[in-house]
């Protein structure tokens, strides 16, 4: 993504200005779906950070709940009140407030698990690619075996052994998510170590650890940006599935998936808003992430240009 204009010698232009003048930003501006995707993601980030200050109640503070207001439909339907835009659930919880707090948990899980998986996978991928040999064979065979199982199933199995809990969901997601980084990084590391700059660093007697961190690592990171972006969405979906099956987050920290599960019980009575809205928000969030991921893939993959 070289800047389209030469960098002025005066250094008058800040990093920010250079970014706005870059080809990357130029393409971004013209790509409607990329802008839409980033707006959706940004919207969610704003919602989970300042949303709790805006919504009228903390849905998990029992003293703020009003049982008289249970099962109110959304505001625009008969019987709805403007106090509860998206209606209320069986305990008189504001569905919108639940969604704001639930999105926070879903998003935190998605981001933290992605970070963990990225760290673990990149480390193992670097080790496998740089040192090769038996270590490489063991790591990659484990990756192969794991890839032959769908992630949801592996995560479900792990959760059935661990029991519910936020920390356990994170461990399960990291255990299924590291593989894709390890594979990508190993591939790029193999290519990079053949190149002259790495050989030069070797000849100059730099210790392996430094070669890996200072020379190889920065050059294998770019493809990971796409993988990491899309993985946040995947993790949000897997977590929702786990929580829906009752083996994900605990009831005291409900994610969007658990909200859907709670609403499912009353769906047959026609009280659709309790479960349908949280799902709609999951879809919106993951859709935004995927739009952004698609754009990044096209932009960062030089082969497609």
């Amino acid at each position: 993504m070289a800047s389209s204009q030469p960098i002025p010698a005066t250094r008058a232009r800040s990093r920010m200005q250079r970014f706005f003048a870059s080809e990357f930003f130029h393409n971004y501006k013209r790509n409607l779906s990329a802008v839409l995707g980033s707006l959706i993601v940004l919207g969610f980030l704003v919602m989970v950070t300042i949303g709790p200050l805006i919504v009228s109640q903390n849905p998990y503070d029992v003293s703020q709940l009003d049982l008289m207001a249970a099962f109110k439909p959304p505001a625009w339907l008969a019987g709805g009140s403007s106090e509860y835009w998206l209606g209320t659930d069986g305990q008189g919880r504001d569905v919108l407030a639940s969604i704001v707090y639930g999105s926070r948990i879903s998003l935190i899980i998605g981001l933290v698990a992605m970070g963990g998986a990225c760290l673990l996978g990149t480390t193992l991928g670097l080790i496998a690619g740089f040192y090769g040999g038996r270590l490489d064979a063991v790591i990659m065979r484990i990756a192969d075996i794991q890839l032959s199982f769908p992630s949801v199933l592996t995560a479900l199995f792990l959760m059935s052994a661990f029991g519910t809990g936020l920390d356990k969901v994170l461990i399960a997601l990291i255990s299924v998510g590291w593989v894709v980084y390890a594979r990508t990084v190993r591939g790029s590391t193999l290519r990079e170590t053949q190149k002259e700059y790495v050989q030069a660093a070797r000849v100059s007697g730099l210790p392996n650890r430094k070669i890996i961190l200072r020379h190889v690592l920065p050059n294998v990171l770019t493809p990971l940006i796409v993988v990491a972006t899309i993985q946040v969405g995947t993790f949000v979906l897997i977590e929702a599935s786990l929580s829906f099956l009752g083996v994900g987050v605990p009831v005291t920290q409900p994610s969007l998936g658990l909200l859907i599960k709670n609403g499912f019980d009353v769906l047959f009575s026609g009280l659709w808003w309790v479960s349908i809205f949280p799902g709609l928000f999951i879809m919106l969030l993951v859709f935004g992430i995927n739009l952004l991921g698609d754009f990044l893939r096209d932009e960062l993959n030089p082969r497609l240009k």
């Binding site: 032959s148 769908p150 199933l153 829906f244 099956l245 859907i260 769906l267 047959f268 349908i276 879809m283």
Partner: protein, 317 residues
């Protein structure tokens, strides 16, 4: 070929170790078996009967040799061989998985070919946006929307259960009667959406690549009709890589069947797994995993063989 078979056995062995380790280091099933007021001696006796008083190595050896002899243990809940439970419920799952796969292919191929052959048209962009939404939505949630709209509001189709079944080739199936088929429709649609969206994107990407090839340009130059170019030259070559994703597709469908079956109260192996997890019915979970692992390994092997048969440039490693 032989190397590939040995690899399959190693994979299955690794799965068995993993399953055993996870299962034996997480909780003690004895307490699920004995009454709450059991004395220490009764608990110790139960542990002896279950073989839990021996070392993990001895337990693993017994576990492995039992499997080798076709003994997969009995369900704590049903007091039946766990394998029998799985095999009884397998046709129900295969039924929705198969129907979902057919639906996904029938929709994904035409749309994918269209979007790949005309990448710039607005309709193609709409198809791509639709497929992105299909990937982004939680499948089980879509099932709930369908239940609410089609079953609860419109009352067109039943919302849960399997409906009447008949015997067919020794299996109990429901697609043979109209009422049974009606029960199949919603679960199959729910299950197919994710796969459909992914397939469509793969086919589109392949078509875009294939349509750039020289033999397509040549066919155009010699004046072959557009339809022949699209389907005979284009699609035929675009479909080859599709064979490799078949195993992946089946895996996803089996995995997501756990959710779909739970929503629609569909009595398949996915619901059995979820119920067994709730009840702590360890033998059933173990057999489910071993069975599914075996299935994936075999399917992937067949896929590799087929791939080599279709495309002679590829050799089985």
């Amino acid at each position: 070929m032989i190397k590939r078979l040995i690899q399959m056995v190693i994979v299955l062995w690794a799965v068995s170790v993993l399953v055993f380790v996870m299962m034996s280091f997480t909780g003690d099933p004895t307490f699920m078996m004995v009454p709450l007021d059991a004395t220490d001696e009764q608990i110790a006796q139960a542990r002896r009967i279950l073989g839990l008083d021996e070392s993990h190595l001895v337990q693993y050896w017994r576990f492995l040799s039992n499997i080798a002899q076709g003994d997969f243990g009995r369900s704590f809940v049903f007091r039946q061989p766990a394998m029998t439970l799985i095999l009884e419920r397998l046709p129900a799952t295969l039924e929705i998985v198969f129907l979902a796969m057919v639906m996904a292919l029938l929709v994904a191929i035409p749309l994918g070919v269209y979007a790949g052959a005309n990448p710039k048209k607005p309709a193609s962009r709409a198809v791509m946006a639709g497929s992105l939404i299909g990937i982004s939505l939680p499948g089980f949630w879509l099932g709930m929307v369908l239940i609410f709209v089609v079953a609860v509001k419109l009352q067109w189709l039943p919302s849960s259960g399997r409906g009447p079944t008949t015997e067919w080739l020794g299996m109990r199936v429901s697609f043979t009667s109209w009422e049974g088929f009606r029960h199949l429709i919603l679960p199959a649609i729910t299950l197919s959406v994710g796969t459909l969206a992914i397939l469509m994107r793969i086919i589109r990407a392949e078509m875009v690549e294939v349509m750039k090839q020289d033999y397509i340009k040549f066919a155009r130059a010699k004046g072959a009709p557009a339809k022949v170019i699209l389907f005979k030259h284009g699609l035929k070559n675009a479909l080859i890589p599709l064979v490799t994703v078949f195993g992946l597709m089946l895996g996803d469908l089996i995995a997501f069947a756990t959710l779909t079956e739970t929503i629609f109260a569909w009595p398949g192996i996915g619901k059995l797994l979820v119920d067994s997890i709730y009840r702590g019915d360890r033998p059933v979970i173990v057999v489910y995993l071993m069975f599914v692992a075996l299935m994936f390994v075999v399917v992937n092997f067949i896929v590799d063989v087929c791939y080599a048969l279709i495309d002679p440039r590829i050799k089985i490693k």
